[in-house]
């Protein structure tokens, strides 16, 4: 089964020694070790980037554009820095210094994603006032989570917030603004370059979100921008560029920041894939009747924990807190005075709701065949050592039994059973 999804996590086979570090860590069991190397089964991969973080040999790579990839045909380049970027620099005292330094990387304008985040928060507050919407509303900001829901929690697709992720809104409004301010430019002259904390957002730019297409032209990693700017960030000076985001927008970088922006304590914010999966399982069982909003982030700590960041997520979060001094809570607002309290401007809404379930996990399209396969899997699993050692190349004995039944592995791949058989043979031989 394919859904033509372009991934942003890949493997450098030369570096991979088939060590199994990533195997057990993958939240969707997308990895197998075959012929001494990890193989990513792409239909299961949600680009969360956890394997990139845990690989001791740096063989798992997140794919990003490089700043040097930007086509010279673009006359106007807009940088879209994720707020997580602000938490990476030791020497930074004022966000404006960083924005000004970024201009020297060849950008004509910097539009902070944190600004768009404040508007998306306002749109979300308005959407939450609508009667009859499926609750709890689940954030659409983390593309790894949205993909997980589409693969594994089809009943929750309707709960996903049908509003653009801040980076998409940022890209769309920044482009529109430049077009308005520079009548000499056409839309083909302008590009947006997202400075991203994670591969999932890189995949988002390539694939969009379900039916929604992205207007982002390039996605560069925070790590690359960090390398280019570290130690070179400007000192504050009169007349320098100023951040135009408030506390509320910058907060989105760490877990809970988005939810807090809704001014309603009936929320749940969870980070890291295992927690997110547990929460989704619980919501699917209708266990939280009073919950209004759920913010889930694939990475530990939220976006500051993304696989393309440099700094430890908790240190980055502490730095972000230090910028709050003197900042207003909010600096970006919708202009919708004459509209009702639950009006959401159409330009902030997803092009189509998230409704396309991808049934990746079925053993077979024919239910009788699937049942027969599962019986066989259960029988095989009972014979296996069930120590989940990973030597066969599957993350668990259960997954191995599935692979055998699907014809993707053979029982001989289980080294524990092989050794047991060898011992029995030797003992049998000794007795003779």
């Amino acid at each position: 089964m394919t859904d033509n999804f372009l991934h942003s996590v890949s493997l450098d086979a030369e570096r991979c020694i088939g060590c199994t570090s990533c195997l057990r860590q993958c939240p969707t069991e997308a990895i197998r070790i075959r012929d001494g190397h990890a193989v990513i089964r792409t239909i299961f991969c949600i680009d969360c980037g956890r394997c990139v973080r845990v690989c001791p040999h740096r063989a798992k790579r997140a794919i990003f554009d490089k700043l040097s990839d930007i086509d010279p045909k673009y006359k106007f380049r807009i940088a879209l820095p994720a707020p997580a970027l602000y938490g990476q620099f030791d020497e930074l005292t004022d966000i404006g210094c960083l924005l000004e330094s970024m201009m020297e990387l060849g950008f004509d304008e910097v539009y902070e994603v944190a600004r768009a985040a404040e508007i998306i928060s306002e749109c979300t507050r308005r959407y939450m006032r609508k009667p009859g919407i499926p609750r709890p509303v689940i954030s659409s900001a983390c593309p790894a989570i949205v993909r997980l829901i589409r693969l594994r929690f089809p009943e929750l697709c309707d709960n996903v917030l049908p509003i653009l992720p801040p980076v998409e809104y940022a890209s769309r409004i920044a482009k529109a603004r430049v077009l308005k301010n520079h009548p000499e430019l056409t839309k083909d002259d302008i590009c947006t370059v997202f400075i991203s904390p994670c591969p999932a957002k890189s995949s988002y730019a390539k694939n969009g979100l379900s039916q929604t297409r992205s207007s982002i032209d390039y996605v560069v990693s925070i790590a690359e921008v960090y390398m280019k700017l570290s130690g070179k960030v400007k000192k504050p000076h009169p007349g320098m560029l100023r951040s135009r985001a408030g506390i509320a927008g910058v907060k989105w970088a760490s877990s809970g920041g988005e939810a807090e922006g809704l001014f309603d304590d009936r929320y749940l914010a969870a980070d890291d894939m295992d927690n997110a999966i547990q929460v989704l399982d619980a919501i699917e069982n209708k266990r939280f009747p009073h919950l209004e909003f759920v913010e889930l982030n694939a990475c530990p700590g939220g976006c500051v924990g993304g696989a393309a960041t440099v700094e430890n997520p908790y240190i980055a979060k502490a730095r972000l807190l230090s910028f709050r001094h003197g900042l207003p809570h909010n600096r970006n607002y919708l202009d919708v005075k004459d509209q009702g309290p639950d009006y959401v401007p159409p330009d902030a809404v997803l092009d189509a709701p998230i409704n396309d379930y991808i049934p990746t996990y079925s053993l077979s399209e024919d239910r009788f065949e699937a049942m027969r396969m599962m019986m066989e899997i259960d029988e095989l699993h009972a014979k296996l050592p069930r120590i989940d050692c990973g030597s066969c190349g599957a993350p668990t004995c259960r997954a191995f039994a599935e692979d055998v039944v699907k014809g993707e592995a053979t029982m001989e791949d289980c080294v524990v059973l092989l050794r047991r058989r060898l011992h029995e043979k030797q003992e049998g031989g000794a007795k003779e």
Partner: protein, 139 residues
């Protein structure tokens, strides 16, 4: 076709593993390709049953028989039994202790939810002996 059977032991010592059988069953039903609403209804019924067995009966066991056209969930425990089934079926009625309520359980929705999300719920119970629930979810 003979039924495919999944057996789960529900540990009644504490709440730390409550809900695991429900998640495990959900994974298997997903692999079997059942429609998502069927999976969700089974999952809710199983979850409520698990919690009930932990709260009231010190655990028990669950057997799920999967047929191509229906899923039968049988929950059996050797707990105190249900003295008044009619009362227990009322939404909001609960005999759970204060301590259980403080933990966020015992809303009195267990049996009513099991009934709501399944095609049939059969209760066999004897005070001092135990309870057997048989639920059928049609596909």
């Amino acid at each position: 076709m003979a039924a495919l059977n999944f057996h789960f032991d529900i540990d009644g010592e504490d709440f730390s593993s409550a809900g695991e059988a429900s998640v495990e069953m959900k994974k298997k039903l997903r692999q079997l390709g059942f429609p998502s609403d069927v999976i969700r209804r089974c999952s809710i019924a199983m979850y409520e049953g698990e919690i009930n067995m932990v709260i009231h009966a010190n655990g028990g066991n669950a057997d799920v028989d999967v047929y191509p056209d229906k899923i039968v969930i049988v929950l059996e425990d050797h707990g105190p039994g249900i003295p008044n089934v009619e009362l227990a079926m009322q939404e909001g009625y609960s005999t759970a202790t204060e301590q259980i309520h403080n933990m966020g359980f015992g809303a009195g929705m267990g049996l009513p939810n099991m009934k709501r999300y399944t095609e049939s719920l059969e209760i066999e119970t004897q005070v001092g002996v135990g309870t057997k629930l048989t639920m059928v979810v049609a596909v």
